[in-house]
């Protein structure tokens, strides 16, 4: 086996580490994207019995954006197993308790319920903010593209940029600036 082929063999079966910034992203659509990398679905060597999934680090999971009024309407059900042990938690309540939970459940539920699912979830590392241990961050070699761009806040622009941006309307002649 030549040196090139040997390295190619290593690269093919090595676990790649991806990073994904969840700021302003829909967790349920992000789950479909992240799932592909976690399970290794994008690889030509993919097979359900072939353990070829990658690691994914998700940062800023506390900054996710739910569509519409899902913060109020989405309910997470849990049952302890005892009589009267059912509980229903709204999405915003769950998010205040644990900012990683909504994203974790979204990814868990996007995958088929088989024996591999728990092991695949072990390769997922979610952090509520951008503080990631350096030991994990050193492995990262790829960034997953965000589904939508994060908009810039008005106070992040300089005053010069705001003033010189093309204007649609002008003040009337008798307008008093207040």
């Amino acid at each position: 086996m030549s040196a090139l082929k040997r390295v190619q063999q290593w690269a093919t079966f090595a676990r790649i580490w991806h990073i994904y910034d969840a700021t302003w992203q829909n967790p349920f659509k992000s789950a479909e994207v992240v799932k592909k990398f976690l399970m290794g679905l994008y690889k030509p060597i993919y097979h359900p019995l072939n353990d070829c999934g990658d690691h994914v680090i998700i940062i800023n999971s506390g900054e996710i954006a739910l569509p519409g009024d899902e913060w109020k309407k989405r309910v997470y059900f849990h049952h302890t197993g005892y009589p009267g042990g059912a509980s229903w938690t709204l999405a915003w309540e769950l998010h205040t308790k644990d900012p990683t939970m909504i994203l974790k459940k979204a990814i868990y539920n996007s995958m088929d319920g088989n024996l591999q699912r728990r092991h695949t979830m072990q390769r997922l590392h979610i952090f509520p903010d951008a503080n990631v241990p350096k030991s994990l961050l050193d492995n990262v070699s790829n960034q997953i593209r965000q589904l939508r761009p994060v908009p810039t806040r008005l106070d992040r622009y300089t005053a010069e940029e705001v003033a010189s941006y093309p204007k649609l309307i002008d003040y009337p002649k008798d307008y008093i600036i207040r």
């Binding site: 106070d155 309307i169 008093i176």
Partner: protein, 141 residues
């Protein structure tokens, strides 16, 4: 009695309520743009200063004068376009009325909705009414 009443009504009514005789129109004629208040000792000086609009050099040309500025621009404005939305907002963060923006009713409604969406999303924290909760995370659902 009737005659005196009519005379009084005519005379007083004309002098007080007739707009032609009462030529009070403060701002359009004086052309005031900005009001300054200067405190010098125990003397308060209030004066109006005419100012050229800071938007003049950056104004887009409206070629279709029958349309409102937003309709004529043909832009699909979203709530994330804060550089555009901030043009329709007063310095205290309130929406400008239609007689000042000069938009059609449809666009005025749309822009004011987008402005409140941007403010609720925390995208315009420096141009938001003082009573509103600027950080969406601190807003209890």
């Amino acid at each position: 009695m009737n005659i005196t009443k009519r005379i009084v009504q005519n005379y007083i009514g004309k002098t007080i309520f007739n707009n032609e005789t009462r030529r009070i129109s403060i701002f359009p004629i004086l052309n005031v743009k900005e009001i300054h208040e200067v405190q010098e000792g125990n003397q308060l000086i209030i004066y109006g200063q005419e100012k050229a609009s800071p938007r003049e050099p950056y104004l887009l040309k409206n070629n279709q004068t029958e349309k409102c500025p937003v309709c004529a621009s043909g832009l699909n404005i979203k709530h994330t376009d804060v550089l555009i939305l901030s043009q329709f907002v007063r310095l205290d963060g309130c929406m400008l009325p239609r007689r000042i923006t000069g938009l059609c009713g449809k666009q005025q409604k749309r822009i004011s909705t987008l402005v409140s969406m941007a403010q609720k999303a925390g995208l315009m924290p420096n141009l938001t009414p003082a009573w509103s909760k600027k950080d969406p995370k601190k807003r209890i659902v």
